[in-house]
């Protein structure tokens, strides 16, 4: 059992070890969906929700697997649960808000292959978090992902207006921006002391 206080877990997941900018998890949607501010916010919300649900399920599965002594099934069962959670969220959003469903488009099913979610499930079991700790960890990671995505989207909207040479347009300048953002987030490392 891990005895980290809840606020420390949240801060750690959200700022100090930000999933996108320090662990490089979920880079694909980070680069893909961060073009517009509105989509970025919604994507962040959807990812946070899937994170919380799958983190809770991962906690349950892990306890079960430990009980029947089959840790080698961990990865397979985690990914199966995440895939079905995403399917559920997809149906839910389609029913509740067709507009949001259209806005997210292909990136909704792609949450399944978002490494941040599987990474979260693996990290929380490696760290030995309890149920409440896992919940807070998932919330923090989701908040951190949303924060990074929204910051990036804001920067990229400004960048549209800037004069950049043709050769760096697209992925290159986005990666440089992400690198600079990552430098900024490293400043939060001081918080851990």
């Amino acid at each position: 059992m891990n005895s980290d206080p809840l606020w420390a877990i949240f801060l750690n997941a959200c700022l100090i070890n930000n999933f996108v900018l320090a662990y490089f998890l979920g880079i694909c949607p980070f680069l893909g969906v961060s073009g517009k501010l509105a989509t970025a916010t919604r994507m962040g919300g959807a990812v946070t929700f899937v994170m919380v649900v799958s983190s809770m399920s991962a906690f349950g599965i892990n306890s079960l697997l430990l009980m029947i002594d089959a840790p080698y099934l961990k990865l397979i069962s985690f990914i199966a649960v995440i895939a079905s959670t995403v399917q559920l969220v997809e149906m839910f959003i389609k029913k509740m808000s067709p507009a949001l469903f259209r806005a997210l488009g292909i990136f909704l099913p792609l949450i399944t292959t978002n490494c941040a979610i599987l990474g979260l499930a693996l990290f929380q079991t490696n760290k030995g978090y309890g149920l409440l700790q896992s919940f807070v960890y998932a919330l923090g990671a989701g908040a951190g992902f949303t924060l990074a995505l929204v910051l990036m989207a804001g920067l990229r909207e400004k960048l549209e207006l800037a004069k950049t040479p043709d050769i760096v347009k697209g992925t290159v300048i986005t990666l440089v921006l992400a690198g600079l953002l990552s430098v900024c987030f490293m400043g939060f490392a001081g918080l851990s002391n």
């Binding site: 900018l21 320090a22 662990y23 490089f24 998890l25 979920g26 880079i27 694909c28 680069l31 080698y72 990865l75 397979i76 990914i79 199966a80 895939a83 792609l110 399944t112 292959t113 978002n114 490494c115 599987l118 990474g119 693996l122 990290f123 490696n126 043709d166 050769i167 760096v168 992925t171 290159v172 300048i173 990666l175 440089v176 992400a178 690198g179 600079l180 990552s182 430098v183 490293m186």
Partner: protein, 217 residues
Amino acid sequence: MIPASQSPPSGTDEFIKGIWKQNPVFVHVLGMCPVLAVTNTAKNALAMGLATAFVLIMSNLVVSSLRRYVPKQVRIVTFILVIATFVTIVDYLIQAISLELHKALGAFISLIVVNCLILGRAEAFASKNGIYRSLLDGLGMGVGFIMALLCLGVVREILGSGSLFGLQLFGEGYQEWIIMLLPPGGFFTLAGWLLLFNWLAKRRERRANSTGKESIS
């Protein structure tokens, strides 16, 4: 590289395309997470590349041999389960071979499961082509991926710690670029490589254009 010389031309093409023309990292920008996360030394990059290539080849093989028996509706789930099985094997294999390496790569070995490159090849290629061609495709893409990881790992290790595969390259006075080992360095190095590839593509385009014009005039 053996199959390239022995296979018929079409097979060679399947193999070569992954290395250069359709390089998964530099051209398709797929599978970015491990590319950025574990390339702080050349050794880690090589190990990660080999692990990913193994999973890619094996899953391509299995997916392509199962392609007639998997119903269309559940194919993605089936692919992911196949991939997850091989990743579990690799995970335990690396743990058995080198515990130190396993610690350095950490959760990123397990995260090969969600590497979009592998699922992408299973869906786009292996589920539609025969076993032989899928094998070559997996080999080519795997080699392309390893090369891309090495490109990043070598640059980051040389600049970040002044060494290559653990061998010290420069004298005592070398000032290390610590930032290259930290997360931002990954972004910057990848940006640099993409810039180089963009520039090469642009230059080739310009040359093609200018020679085209000359021939017209």
